[in-house]
Structure formats: C-alpha cells, structure tokens
C-alpha cells in the first residue's frame, strides 16, 4: 500500500539541550502512513493526541504480555485466536433487545431498585 507523508517538523528539543524527556513532555516527529490511515487521522481534531493514545494502548498491551509471560503464562497466537473467537461470538450475539434490557437494568441499578 502506498504511504503518504503525514507531516514533517524537525525535532527541536535536542538542539536546545533538552535531552531528558519525561511523560507529559512532547517531541515533534515525522512519520509516513498508508493512505487509509492518513484518511482516518484527517477526521481527528487532535491527531497528536489520537496517535499518542493509540501507541500507549499498544505499549500497555506489550507490557501486559511481557508481565504475564514473566509470571509463567505461555500465551500463544492460537490461544489469542481462541479467546478472540469466543469474545467476538458473544458480542455478535448482543441484540438490540438485550441492549434495551441492559439499559433498563442499569437504570434500575442506579436507583438501587434491581432487587
């Protein structure tokens, strides 16, 4: 797939001597993305925040898998596929009727009346 240059702004902090980055500080980088990704990003009012959040989710997922592997869980692509199939089947079975019933139950819970 073709890629499109999304933006290009040279990093400036390094030249100003700021090399100790902490979370919350920002740095401008240049990236190239496929057309479909660029089209999606164009719908975001704050592309930087959207990309940062997406990457943080990926980072958290990597951390979770590393932590669980270190604890002895032998996670595999096959196991992931089985888990995905089970959850996807459950979500596919959620009907508008169930959503209505769930909303009614949630409202009763808020009132403390779901006895």
């Amino acid at each position: 797939m073709r890629t499109r240059k999304a933006c290009y702004v040279p990093a400036v902090l390094a030249s100003s001597g700021m090399t100790d980055y902490r979370r919350g500080m920002t740095r401008k980088i240049a990236i190239s993305v496929p057309d479909d990704v660029a089209a999606r990003l164009e719908r975001e009012p704050n592309v930087s925040a959207f990309v940062a959040e997406s990457v943080r989710i990926r980072m958290a997922a990597e951390s979770v898998r590393e932590t669980m592997a270190a604890a002895g869980f032998e996670l595999t692509p096959q196991g992931r596929a089985r888990a995905a199939a089970e959850l996807d089947a459950l979500h596919a079975g959620v009907t508008p009727q169930l959503r209505r019933e769930a909303a009614e139950l949630k409202a009763r819970l808020r009132r403390g009346q779901a006895g």
Partner: protein
C-alpha cells in the same frame, strides 16, 4: 484523565475466574492479554478479588497482585449506591458474585466470566454474554 483510564470494559472476572487465573488457567490469561491488545479493560470487582485472596496460597496471591496491577485492570469498589442491590442479590449469588453481576450490568453489556451462569441469569437478562470458567 489518563486516556487508558477511559478504556471500555471488556470483561468482568468473578471469583471463580480469578481463582482459575491464579491457578495458571491459560484461557483466562489469553482473554486478559487479548483485551489489553484491544484497548479494553478487565474489571475486577473488589469483593471478588478479596474472596479470591482468601482462597489462594502464596503463589496464587502473587498472581492476584499481578493481575490487579496490570495497566488495563480496574479493581471496582462496591459503592454505596449498589449496596442495597448487592445485598439482595447476594442471598442467591453470594456477595462476591453479586458484585460481579452488578459490575457487568453497570457497563454496556459487558461479558461476565463466571462459573455460576445458571444463578447469574436470574438477575441479568437471560441472553447476557457469559464466559464459562
């Protein structure tokens, strides 16, 4: 607010699910890891976590420490607003499973992982998404 704290709820784990995980059950582990991939959270009702701690050995306790500390895990407190319902439901479900069912129902049709399917659907809609332990 940290964006990760706004993750949608991906599943609620009851005591049985936590105990299965604490004994090394891969099915629970795969689901927990998958939800991290999907940017969704794992909801752990505090009553279930406390009950699970009661029933595990030292190794299992360490694994419970671990799951509760994962970035996408949310340990949900039993709030004042839910106490009356929890009390009522606990007559059948026990307080821990009642809390789990309440957490599932408090989010938009969130799957519940439990070994008490037949009891839970006395309180949740019958078609509720349930993952059997």
């Amino acid at each position: 607010m940290d964006p990760l704290a706004r993750r949608p709820a991906g599943i609620v784990l009851d005591t049985a699910a936590l105990l299965a995980y604490a004994s090394g059950d891969l099915k629970v582990g795969e689901i927990v890891a998958l939800l991290a991939d999907r940017g969704e959270s794992v909801v752990i009702p505090a009553a279930c976590l406390a009950t699970a701690y009661r029933d595990v050995d030292e190794e299992g306790s360490g694994l419970l420490d671990l799951i509760a500390s994962l970035e996408h895990a949310i340990v949900a407190p039993l709030t004042r607003g839910h106490c009356a319902v929890a009390g009522g439901w606990s007559r059948i479900l026990g307080l821990d499973t009642a809390h789990a069912a309440i957490e599932a129902a408090s989010n938009p049709v969130t799957p519940l992982m439990t070994e008490h399917r037949s009891l839970v659907i006395r309180f949740l809609p019958k078609a509720w998404p349930i993952v059997d332990v």
